[in-house]
Symmetry: C2
Subunit: 379 residues, 2 copies
């Protein structure tokens, strides 16, 4: 039985949001924090571990690339770990060729078999007919990038991601398709990029390395919720709908399944992530994790890959991406109108039903800490 | 008239080698250093300046990319400047398509019109006939990468670089052609990469920011050499052959000419450097400097490019790359056997007739300082 009554603060969930809150409260206020985690490890979906047999830093929930333009967030994470200089680049394999993603001059030139300069690409996109009524995703994508790029890069991949035809998907799923009229092949253009040199677990370990912080794994918050006192602060980062016992219905999420394989090769695919855009290939992506740490030069003759498959999350599945359908948005509004006890704060990706990159979760936690939590203790 | 007699040390030339020596002697030993520079600016070929009309950091002698695996060198330069996270990537335009350089899986796949995996590329290179006798550069290149890649990427470019047919060039010019059996498209794979955030001039200025260091521009060392006293230390980084008054002949260098243009476009070519491999295009490369500083987001609606042309250096030209012909190597040996006065040290690219990247020049200077110069003052 977890002892709740010793802690000033209970943090529910140990992703970047929860750990940032715990770290700030511990370091800045010297309060005691109990972190409750349902899984058998901390770190949420950013969790990684070093596989002993291969030396590979395995990202258990898919490649997590740290990137931010927020200097404050970058300085914050760098307090706990050095970062390597890895910059993510994604290639697609589609219709028998490698193509850069996001779409850039090289992608367009490969698809059309002739050089596009920045000016020519600009003209190409401006010249696309905008006459298709955007009644579904396909129509909008055609307006945004034209038939050729859509059919090679968007159609098959999107249908695998959503498990349905692009003509049956609402146009609203894509506001814009990132297209670059230059040759920048980085996946992210942020000023600060890299991966924690000893992996995410090392980083998370440093964040909670304080006598003020206790972590309890394998525990469901709702099994102990009733014992919480009203003078204990609770920062809840679990699913929003679960918090209210699904009273307005279940919020929809997409999940992904990973098929991990250890392969007796130095290099299976030559890149950290390759997107497979053709509809006939059952997976959406293959991750090959050793590419994320080019500074680890020791060779083991083995590599670990993970094939990624996308589908709707069912009960018990890990939620990844909010589906955000009309019905989801209606439910969300209702949940947001719900009153929560004064000693509770909700946050993080699951707690807000918002897709947050790691740096956004940290920024959001720092902001919650500064504007609300630190004051809560002042009063 | 420059006053030589006040200085403990005369440094001849203000490239990375000379400035590192000056900085070390000043900071560590507190000795006074006089830097003599023939040009009207310091920094050697790494010199850059911010063009006011466009905001562009112009690299006057072509794009200079800082990259190193040497942690000591990286820490050293970071004492004087922050660095951005720019990682250099080069594309070729050849036979009507963009191709990644160095040759990687994407290059090979584009050239052959089908996907090569790491294993397939390995097999391809291993399977190349090695039967051609390597009597010239073309023969060696064919053995290394095969006919298709050679003809598209190597032949035309090399002929423009050297101004002569590849069948007339010695095989020894290329020991190997860097080929990657993966999708890494970085030009350098070094652990530390980036550009000084305020440009090289700012970095150089910080290096010599000491009352111990005086810089005299527009001065030819040989016009004042006779006034140097035997208790003054001289670190000479000028041309080796010139130091000995060309007594064993002139060492051969390649030079490059730049044709600078300001163009009223946000983006001319979409990348910092594009190599033009086709023989019919007269230049070898086009630099577009604003891409080197993606963190400078202010738009001026103008961009500066420089077309690069390669040729043999004649008298008065800037030496760039040692030609290193048989005759050069013979002369070099003779120069190396020459005695130099006890108070002289020779170093740097010109002083050793060796192509040195910036980080190599710094490492070499730090080493000379630690092993020889600091001891010279102890004695």
């Amino acid at each position: 039985m977890v002892k709740l009554n010793g802690a000033d603060v209970i943090v529910v969930g140990s992703g970047f949001f929860g750990l940032t809150i715990a770290e700030r409260i511990s370091s800045e206020l010297g309060k005691s924090v109990l972190v409750l985690e349902k899984r058998n490890h901390i770190g949420g979906n950013a969790y990684s571990y070093k596989d002993d047999a291969t030396g590979v830093e395995v990202h258990k929930y898919g490649s997590h690339l740290f990137h931010t333009n927020n200097e404050k967030v970058w300085k914050y994470v760098n307090k706990f770990s050095h970062f390597n200089n890895y910059q993510h680049r994604v290639l697609a394999i589609a219709h028998g060729q490698y193509l850069n993603l996001p779409i850039n001059l090289q992608t367009i030139s490969n698809v059309f078999g002739k050089i596009f300069t920045p000016q020519e690409a600009k003209k190409f996109f401006e010249g696309l007919s905008r006459e298709v009524i955007e009644e579904n995703l396909e129509a909008r994508a055609l307006n945004l990038v034209g038939k050729e790029l859509y059919e090679i890069l968007i159609k098959g991949y999107t249908e695998k991601q959503w498990g349905t035809s692009t003509t049956d998907l609402p146009a609203s799923i894509i506001n814009r398709l990132p297209v670059r009229n230059n040759l920048d092949s980085r996946y992210f253009t942020d000023l600060y990029q890299g991966l924690p040199i000893e992996g995410y677990s090392d980083l998370f370990g440093k964040m909670i390395d304080s006598k003020n912080i206790t972590v309890e794994l394998n525990i469901d918050f709702f099994s102990v919720k009733e014992f919480i006192e009203s003078d204990q602060l609770v920062v809840y980062t679990g699913p929003l709908d679960r918090f209210f016992n699904y009273k307005h219905g279940v919020l929809g999420w997409r999940t992904v399944d990973f098929e991990f394989q250890t392969i007796p090769l130095d290099d299976f695919q030559g890149n950290a992530v390759i997107n497979y855009c053709d509809r006939e290939v059952p997976y959406t992506r293959i991750h090959e994790f050793f590419h994320l740490h080019p500074e680890r030069t020791k060779k083991f003759g083995k590599t670990i890959i993970a094939k990624e498959y996308s589908r709707v999350a069912l009960e018990g599945d890990e939620p990844y991406y909010p589906i955000n359908s009309k019905s989801d948005r209606d439910k969300l509004l209702k949940y947001r109108e719900e009153k929560i006890p004064e000693n509770y704060f909700l946050g993080g990706r699951l707690g807000t039903y918002k897709y947050l990159d790691m740096h956004m979760a940290i920024a959001s936690a720092l902001s919650l800490y500064e504007t609300k939590i630190s004051r809560w203790f002042e009063d």
